[in-house]
């Protein structure tokens, strides 16, 4: 019996079906809104991005990175060679041997995938994903045996009918998963969508070691257009490459493992959220989802489609409002999916179209609109905290080297202690600085994270107008949230107020002063100290070193928490989460304080007033919480004071 025609036919069929699936999938993405992306340049850059950017993230776990390199690399090679050898029938022993090597590599990789799936961690999805290692083994094994005759190891036509039937079955299974499943929504979809997502990513600046964390502004003119919608109401309101990004999810659950809201038992799981987005873009229900649910919410009740309002049945608004926008999920995602962008996009619809910002959200937004600060204090009382500080006002001096951006901490008594400490340090280092006083407004951070981009844009433009009147070369702020807005989000409004201006966080600036010798510090003699990385300083702006260097300059040896640096756990205070206050089983701040306590530290050094407030809200006994500026000021050796005392003493005698 001759079945030489059978296998090429099967391969051709599988490939043809895969192409049809790919066209269908691409059309699902194309239902999204247009985005300015250079398609050719993206495709050209894609292999490099895979090998460099994506692999750098996968490389954080050695086991999986090697497994993936062997399996994925072996598969890509095998697939190409299978086409050459078995479909086109090129009779070359070299090609056949190369194919055997690639299949062997893939097979070994697949064995490790299999081993990992024997006792999988809770974060990874089960269901069809449990089948994947077996499909990989079937594909690699069957083609290996099938290639042996071509390589001259076995004589042509060896093996009986039984072997042929078994091999054919295995090939159908393997190709069904790897060719057909890749574009028709199986687990291998991640390879197809993932590769294209790397090419057409909405934040092209992220690749090659770049950082892109500022939210994209909403086109407010949509509010006037007929049928215009602010934010994302339906899956088709996303940009097409965002939809593509959702499809790239490999359901590894690294986001879930890092998400503070998930750990706190709030109804958010970033992985499930992305899978719900996939349900939305393709239509259907979440019944086939085989990972962890949103805490406290059963699986199977979510329904959606490309033109269905997402918050009507697909996602509970509480899920969206649980997010602290800490970006831990984005930082962890090997497929470089932008969870926070998607969440804020959907919040924008809820706030700007539906007027449904939960709990204190509406009140805070009203206050920001009416008084330019979230608590509704009189705008003229913004500088009351500094009544005894004699701060130079920009309105008077017009020009200074450093503009000290005070932020809304001006209205909060705890934050004022940080501000005072920082002012004392600035004065001790003889820095030429000034503040905006009552001309400063809220940075717009909270309004933007709560989805009110209209208010954010209004604040940003008014702040930029004020800034453009004065001359300064640096803006320094003690608030990482204002820092992020000024540095990364104020550039979208066509103002040149911040051109050639360096925006710095106070820890960066103080570190420069200490390194230059402008601040003399005595060694810190207190107890053990740990450092908490604020999300908006670390993950949003990549500043991990300056605060640590400052602490070391006082002779402090930092007892690092298990989750620190880019894996730092959020304090729970970002993204308006304390305002929308979605209930969970635990408080995020409590968990973070546990992290700190378990290092044995008695002092938590912080670089953010919001983190300070959140961590100090944890019940005692707990370590003390101090901003780095406050720790520094206690160690400040006031050289001028000493010498004047000396002079006085001499005059007396």
């Amino acid at each position: 019996m001759s079945v030489e025609w059978l296998h090429p036919l099967l391969i051709a069929t599988a490939l043809a079906l895969a192409v049809i699936g790919a066209v269908r999938r691409v059309n699902l993405w194309r239902a999204g809104k247009p985005d300015q992306i250079n398609l050719i340049a993206g495709l050209m850059a894609m292999p490099g991005r895979y090998l460099h950017d994506l692999h750098d993230i996968v490389e954080r776990g050695k086991y999986m990175s090697r497994t993936h390199a062997a399996t994925g690399g072996g598969f890509v090679l095998s697939a190409l060679l299978v086409i050459l050898v078995h479909l086109l029938g090129i009779d070359s022993q070299i090609l056949a041997w190369a194919l055997l090597a690639a299949l062997a590599l893939m097979f070994v990789g697949a064995l490790f995938v299999f081993k990992r799936r024997l006792n999988p961690p809770s974060r990874i999805s089960k269901g069809p994903w449990m089948r994947l290692p077996k499909s990989l083994l079937a594909f690699a094994g069957a083609f290996f045996v099938l290639t042996l005759p071509a390589a001259g190891v076995l004589p042509e036509g060896s093996g009986g009918v039984l072997l042929t039937v078994v091999l054919t079955a295995l090939i159908i299974w393997g190709m069904g998963e790897l060719f057909f499943g890749m574009t028709w929504g199986g687990p291998m979809k991640h390879a197809f969508a993932g590769a294209l997502h790397l090419a057409f990513h909405r934040r092209q600046e992220r690749f090659g070691g770049g950082r892109s964390t500022g939210l994209k502004p909403v086109d407010l003119s949509l509010a006037q257009e007929i049928g215009g919608v602010l934010g994302v109401a339906k899956p088709t309101d996303f940009k097409w490459n965002q939809l593509l990004g959702f499809d790239a999810c490999v359901q590894c659950g690294k986001c879930e493992a890092m998400c503070p809201a998930f750990a706190a038992g709030q109804p958010l799981n970033p992985k499930k959220l992305i899978q719900d987005m996939v349900v939305g873009l393709a239509g259907g229900t979440d019944a086939n989802y085989a990972g962890s649910p949103y805490p406290g919410k059963a699986i199977g009740n979510a329904k959606g489609g490309p033109d269905h309002i997402i918050t009507d049945g697909l996602i509970d608004p509480e899920t969206l409002w649980s997010c602290t926008t800490c970006r831990a999920c984005v930082e962890e995602c090997p497929m470089m999916i932008e969870h926070v962008d998607a969440i804020v996009d959907m919040r924008r619809y809820l706030t700007m179209e539906k007027g449904k910002t939960p709990n204190k959200g509406a009140e805070v937004l009203d206050n920001i609109i009416a008084t330019d600060n979230p608590n509704g204090y009189a705008p003229a009382s913004r500088t009351n905290w500094a009544a005894d500080q004699n701060l130079p006002l920009m309105r008077d001096v017009k020009e200074a080297e450093v503009l000290f951006w005070v932020s809304d901490g001006a209205f909060d008594m705890r934050s004022q202690r940080i501000l005072r400490a920082f002012v004392k340090l600035l004065k001790a280092a003889n820095v030429d600085f000034a503040v905006l006083g009552d001309e400063e407004l809220d940075s717009g951070d909270v309004a933007r994270r709560l989805g009110d981009d209209a208010t954010f844009q209004s604040l940003a433009k008014r702040n930029l107008d004020v800034l453009s009147q004065y001359k300064f070369s640096k803006i320094v702020t003690t608030d990482p949230h204002a820092y992020h807005c000024l540095r990364n989000e104020y550039n979208d409004f066509g103002s040149d107020a911040l051109n050639r201006v360096e925006v710095l966080h106070h820890t960066t600036f103080l570190n420069q002063l200490v390194q230059l010798g402008s601040l003399k510090l005595s060694p810190f003699t207190g107890a053990k100290v740990t450092y908490h990385d604020p999300c908006y300083l670390g993950r949003y702006n990549g500043e991990y070193e300056a605060p640590r260097e400052l602490l070391r300059s006082m002779g402090i040896e930092i007892a690092e928490m298990e989750r620190s640096g880019f894996r730092s756990r959020c304090c729970g205070g970002g993204g308006g989460a304390p305002i929308t206050d979605i209930p969970g089983e635990r408080r995020i701040a409590d968990m973070r304080m546990e992290d700190a306590s378990s290092t044995g530290a008695e002092l938590v050094a912080v670089g953010c007033q919001q983190c300070t407030a959140m961590l100090e809200g944890v019940v005692e006994p707990r370590p003390q919480v101090k901003d780095i500026a406050e720790i520094l000021v206690d160690q400040l050796v006031d050289s001028t004071a000493d010498s004047s005392v000396g002079q006085l003493a001499r005059e007396v005698h």
Partner: protein, 272 residues
């Protein structure tokens, strides 16, 4: 009191008008939707059923249609705001009254007093006088409307409520105890239509001669705590305020009651 327990005659579709003014934030002095007026809009939206917003609820303003604060009322989900365009110096009472008669309003909701301008709190009373309708001041809620009669809850000090039955049509001023206004959203606020009708009215001559100056803060009387025990302090904080001097007249004839009011007004120097 749950607002969604509201009962209306199915046969008669209510025509509700909420009057809105330009609000002023107490801290920043910036224009905004007035707190009480927006509660009047909220109550109107609830009475007409949220889904039919804009159908049988008319939100009416007399003044400048370009006024930005009108948009923040619209952001509560209104399709349009009816504006009687007037000269700023004109007296709005007459055109408002005419409009209310024309549109066949059943219930007119206003705030107790405006946050800017004269802020006298006289608009609902003057309208009621002009139209000859009853006025229910300081309502917290409208419970039901059946057979042309509404059951209205009036807000009294310290969280007390008084149930009042009133014949339609009537005017009610909405107290700060009424349910809080829903969030104003940017999208609907920008989209809403300003339904403008240019009207002319006589210039408010009395007002012309007035001079406006910012209010001076009056010194606060120091509060002397007389209570000795916690129980007394609690009682002082929660007890019903006892009017001093007044008397309750229930069984006297109407003439006697009117005479008593007349005497009191004379005594207080209100009537001369």
């Amino acid at each position: 009191m749950q607002p969604n327990q509201f009962k209306v005659d199915v046969a008669s579709k209510l025509k509700i008008v909420s009057l809105v003014s330009v609000g002023k934030h107490p801290q920043s002095g910036r224009v905004r939707r007035s707190d009480q007026d927006s509660r009047a809009v909220e109550l109107g939206l609830k009475l007409t059923g949220d889904n039919r917003s804009g159908e049988s609820l008319t939100v009416l303003h007399a003044g400048d249609p370009r006024e930005q604060s009108l948009r923040s009322y619209a952001g509560m989900g209104l399709k349009s705001v009816r504006v009687l365009q007037l000269d700023p110096s004109a007296d709005a009472i007459l055109p408002l009254g005419q409009h209310l008669l024309q549109c066949g309003a059943d219930i007119v909701l206003t705030g107790v007093r405006a946050e800017s301008g004269e802020s006298s709190g006289m608009v609902p009373y003057q309208l009621a006088e002009k139209l000859g309708w009853p006025i229910v001041p300081r309502v917290a809620n409208i419970v039901s409307v059946e057979g042309g009669v509404a059951e209205v809850l009036q807000a009294l000090p310290r969280g007390q409520r008084r149930s009042v039955m009133v014949q339609l049509p009537f005017i009610a001023s909405v107290d700060s105890a009424a349910p809080e206004a829903r969030q104003s959203a940017f999208g609907p606020a920008s989209r809403a239509l300003m339904d403008i009708e240019v009207v002319s009215a006589s210039v408010d001559m009395t007002r012309e001669s007035w001079e406006e100056v910012p209010a001076r803060k009056r010194p606060k009387r120091l509060k002397v705590v007389k209570a000795k025990t916690a129980a007394e302090r609690f009682k002082a904080a929660t007890a019903k305020s006892q009017g001093e001097g007044g008397k309750v007249m229930k069984n006297e004839s109407a003439v006697e009651q009117a005479q008593a009011i007349f005497d009191l007004l004379k005594e207080e120097g209100v009537l001369r």
